[in-house]
């Protein structure tokens, strides 16, 4: 009798777990990155969906005072023209020699008016300045003042289609990454050209970088080159790092 009962329970647990597994395999929905059958990516998927479901949608990251601005390490790529940790970009080196006068930001994909923006065009949009905390996945934090244009302004100016679901970013140091619409239209998500009251320096991402204040630092991509708006998630393969890092 007892034995039979045990087997029943075990069967129930196994059935329950496989149901949960199927629940964690949203392979075809394109609402977030594929999990590649990797249990770590399934955990990331769970965190992303749980945070999007449970957290209030447009809460603001804490903003600090001017006197809170701290020392700020520049990590990862510190100059795409002379890249210590990857391929160097000759294109970026040329732009740097011309003090970024020839730099343009390209916007394409699911927008009515694809095209390029010069720095003076970007700076002609109403700006936003915010003093926020940068949280690096390594464990350190730093507070800086960022000045730039809300990404929402640029996306609306380019005529983003209502069907758009993701904004993809490409940088001069070869990075590509994307954010969803909730982050893209968040008031604190800006394309920053100024840091601590000065032009953005090369180690911190000159001439233009992204700030995504409700995620870990690596989503705030430096050295922006191109923005592509898409209806579906662009799968660039498993980078080994979580795509969503609000945590």
């Amino acid at each position: 009798m007892k034995r039979k009962k045990l087997v029943t329970r075990r069967t129930a647990i196994i059935t329950g777990l496989s149901t949960l597994g199927a629940f964690l395999l949203p392979g075809c929905s394109h609402s977030s990155p594929p999990t590649y059958g990797n249990i770590l990516r399934m955990g990331d998927w769970l965190t992303y969906n749980a945070q999007r479901t449970l957290l209030p949608e447009q809460s603001m990251a804490k903003e600090y005072n001017y006197r809170d601005i701290s020392s700020f390490p520049a990590t990862g790529t510190i100059n795409p023209a002379d890249n210590l940790f990857g391929d160097s970009s000759e294109e970026y080196a040329q732009l740097q020699r011309g003090a970024f006068a020839d730099w343009r930001l390209t916007i394409e994909g699911r927008v009515a008016r694809p095209g390029t923006y010069s720095m003076s065009q970007i700076q002609s949009f109403p700006s936003r300045t915010q003093i926020t905390r940068h949280t690096c996945e390594e464990g350190w934090t730093a507070i800086g003042q960022w000045t730039g244009v809300p990404l929402a302004s640029i996306l609306e100016h380019a005529g983003i289609y209502p069907s758009a679901r993701f904004v993809n970013f490409y940088s001069y140091d070869g990075w590509e990454d994307s954010i969803d619409m909730l982050d893209a239209f968040h008031p604190q998500t800006i394309l920053a050209y100024g840091m601590n009251g000065r032009d953005l320096s090369i180690p911190h991402g000159a001439p233009l970088r992204l700030r995504v204040e409700k995620q870990i630092g690596y989503k705030s991509m430096k050295y922006l080159q191109r923005i592509v708006v898409t209806d579906e998630f662009i799968d660039i393969g498993d980078s080994g790092w979580s795509w969503y890092v609000g945590i």
């Binding site: 249990i39 770590l40 990516r41 399934m42 955990g43 990331d44 769970l46 965190t47 945070q51 957290l55 209030p56 809460s59 603001m60 990251a61 804490k62 600090y64 809170d68 601005i69 701290s70 020392s71 700020f72 390490p73 520049a74 990590t75 510190i78 100059n79 210590l84 940790f85 905390r133 949280t135 690096c136 996945e137 390594e138 464990g139 350190w140 934090t141 730093a142 507070i143 840091m195 601590n196 009251g197 000065r198 320096s201 180690p203 911190h204 204040e213 409700k214 995620q215 870990i216 980078s239 080994g240 790092w241 979580s242 890092v245 609000g246 945590i247």
Partner: protein, 252 residues
């Protein structure tokens, strides 16, 4: 009905849900400690307040991984003209960093801990498990009783396994601290390091005194829990390892 001397008849066994929660939390705890050490190795410096990085002073630094006290920065540049201005410096050092899997596994294990922990807390309250077995009775809660139990432990006078949740006074008190204080603090300080969660609930930053304070408290909470694990293991070994594992796994 057995006689009172017949212990196997009157013994209260560990409930199945207690056993399941115990081993699930054990599994997630091991994963959390393993990945926690890996994550700490990437930046083995701890701070107080909102800010802490290689360019600001640390409370202390742990000699783990090649990232310990490395130089690897070019010359600092001041953000402002005045003296004492915050600086920027570029890192030229290729650091140890396995956080890609480390962080994801840490959070996966944290999900397991939080979900199991919540289920355990709710079941424990509803069934009266905490009231009956974990919270010391008021009359037990005297300095003399504590002192007696403490002396018994020092003299290694360890009772044989009861085979169920009939715990000693210090044992109850320790389980209470772990369940209702150390683990919740570890979880809450974990939340306080999350940019999305603190944007939604900024009071977390106020409670723990900032993101880096939360990280430091998270570290000490984990040290406390690891010390508990060592003591817990020691007590299990001293009171009869095989029997204890059997009671907690199969209930008998």
């Amino acid at each position: 009905m057995g006689t009172p001397a017949d212990r196997s008849e009157i013994r209260i066994k560990h409930k199945a849900w207690v056993r399941a929660a115990h081993w699930t939390v054990t599994l997630s705890f091991f994963a959390l400690v393993f990945t926690g050490v890996e994550i700490l190795m990437v930046h083995p410096r701890l701070y107080w307040g909102e800010v802490g990085n290689d360019l600001t002073p640390a409370l202390f630094e742990l000699p783990i991984s090649r990232n310990y006290k490395h130089g690897g920065y070019d010359n600092p540049v001041s953000f402002r003209a005045e003296a004492g201005s915050p600086v920027s410096a570029s890192r030229t050092y290729d650091i140890f960093n396995q956080n890609g899997w480390g962080r994801s596994l840490h959070f996966l294990a944290a999900w397991l801990l939080v979900v199991t922990g919540l289920a355990y807390l709710i079941t424990g309250l509803i069934t009266g498990h905490f009231k009956h077995y974990i919270w010391p009775k008021l009359k037990e809660f005297t300095p003399a009783a504590f002192w007696r139990d403490f002396k018994d432990h020092l003299k290694m006078r360890i009772a044989p396994p009861a085979g169920g949740p009939q715990y000693g006074l210090l044992q109850k008190f320790t389980y209470m601290l772990v369940t209702f204080f150390a683990l919740p603090v570890a979880v809450m300080t974990g939340f306080t390091m999350s940019p999305a969660i603190t944007a939604a609930y900024p009071f977390l930053l106020a409670i723990f005194g900032g993101a880096q304070s939360a990280r430091t408290i998270h570290f000490f909470a984990s040290v406390a829990l690891e010390l508990f694990l060592l003591m817990h293991l020691l007590m299990i070994i001293l009171s009869g390892f095989k029997q204890q594992i059997r009671y907690m796994t199969f209930g008998k």
